[in-house]
Amino acid sequence: MIRFRIIKREPLPGWAKIMIPIAAIIATLIFSAIPILLAGGQLWKSYFYLFYGALGTRYNLLETFVKASPLLLTGLAVAFAFRAKFWNIGAEGQLLAGALTATVLGVHMGSFPAAMVLPTIIIAGFLAGGIWASIPALLKTKLKVDDVVSTLLLNYVMIHIMGALLFGPLQQPGSSWPRSSAIIEAACYPILVARSRFHMGILISFAAVLIIWLVNKKTIFGYRSKAVGINIRAAHFGGINTTAVILWTALISGGLAGMAGVGELCALQYRLIMDISPGYGYSGIVIAMLGNLHPVGVLFSSLFFSIIIVGAQTMSRMTGVPTYIAEVIQGMALMVMLIFLLFTEYKIRVIRK
């Protein structure tokens, strides 16, 4: 009888850490053939349009960066929280909190000096997301409420807060749709590349990668946050105020997600609608895992995801494969990556009896 055992292996060399995500992406693309073929798409044509649609033209290439921006921020948000084992599944709600705050300020700050408007909105959006995330962090540290459940449930609370406001005080006067008035011009992110939607928020999200990398690597807080993630009891006995660390982690994590909401509102939609986020907060979880919780990894996995999402549009138009293929590929990418990561630490031994 043959049995399989999973046993620990010796640490892999450094190059393997870079090769494994690449191998996982290639494996995911191979597995994607199954749903593509099921949908009756021609394989090579589908793959071609997937990448051509995302990278092939100037506009689409820039559009891939536009899509990557919120994914990058929510991915960083989740990665930063997970690193400290604060299970923040609530990036979606925190994103909405940021977008909601940006709407309120963006509509009503007409009488303020124009130069003040955008910085205020960005800071307020960050804080809104951060404060929304610090609620489950408080519940976790003070009242031992499971953070997975509370962050998830708060997503739905935030969606309904948004709904109540969009059907109420925030609704555009005279409109019967759940949408807000447009924000003032001073509240809009500048477009940086002509004839495209490449906006300032994209630079902000790239800067966030650098900042989070610095925080993780070079600050005492980054060290403490990691220590809490590895072993909260040991961190506590080592003299770290774990409650404060988790709270600050939540604040930064939620803040990043809130910035994603600000970006979507002030650079793309200009007014709040119910569909402001097509689940960026949830995609952020996959992106964070795919990037192995490392800021640079998150950068690459968010780019990979935006290629899939933008490319799937063109692929769908040209081959008839539903655009939801993008979500299927995302889910598969996560599982493949998990399995690949497992085999960086473990190997399968075949035992014959």
């Binding site: 055992r5 949908a39 709904g163 109540a164 497992l342």
Partner: protein, 315 residues
Amino acid sequence: MSEILNIAFISGLIGATMRMATPIIFATLGEILAERSGVLNLGIEGIMLMGAMTGFLFTFSTGSIWFGVFAAACVGMLLGLLMALLSVNLGLSQHVSGLGITLFATGLAMFIYRLHFGSPTVPPIIEPFKQVALPVLSRIPLIGPALFTQYSLTYIAWLLVPAMSILLYKTNIGLKIRTVGENPAGADTVGVNVTLTRTLCLVAGGALMGIGGGFLTLAHQNMFLIDVIGGRGWVAIAMVIFGNWDPLKGTIGALIFGFLDGLQLRLQSVGLVIPFHIFLMIPYLLTIVALIGVSRRAAVPAGLLQPYRREEKGG
């Protein structure tokens, strides 16, 4: 007049409570089974959506609604098996595997639906379950008609609650499941197959989650909408904690949630002044409040979240 209105309102509310609680009861029981064996299955939301979609698709194609229920259970079992493969056999993080399954299953459900139905302007519908009045019981004055005129799946859910309690507390199998969940290494020592037990619990639990999802498209509504689950899987996870991993207490939680959900629906249909989104929010908000109340004395199965690998025993 107002008295009649009140009776109509209250009996409507009782009926709605039972209806809205049914999918949560199924999902909560499925999750309790998984968690009692030591696996937190966060794939629940996705499994329910796949159950809802598959149940609808099979009923639409075959015309047999019970075949749809069967298909929903099967797809739940398959996804439960996938969860077992990732989190039990490979020992991956339960949080991440579960969320991965939810994301994968959500994408897959929408993908398959689109593939089969395209993007119609009017969503396709099926002939849903009809409510069945239980003889004698449904003639009890006041509460009888409302309480005992329900969908067959609701009655099945009621029967499953004591069945699950008996399974967990009164049978040898239940003892094995609980031992695996509390102390996997100990269970292994006395000859219980930890991997197999957890796998079977995830598969059976997945079936219940799938049926819970199926209820929403086969009885509660007669069509499939993308947001049909609307966080009910996560509510079930909360109800497991609220009910302290006990089938009966978890069901009470599900009934409270069903009551709030039903109240919200009834108030919407009566026409109200407060924005209905506030009412939609209440069940989620109160679930969080309830969790605050119970979390400090929660009796979490000690082996929950712990992958079990023989080689690392005691490590």
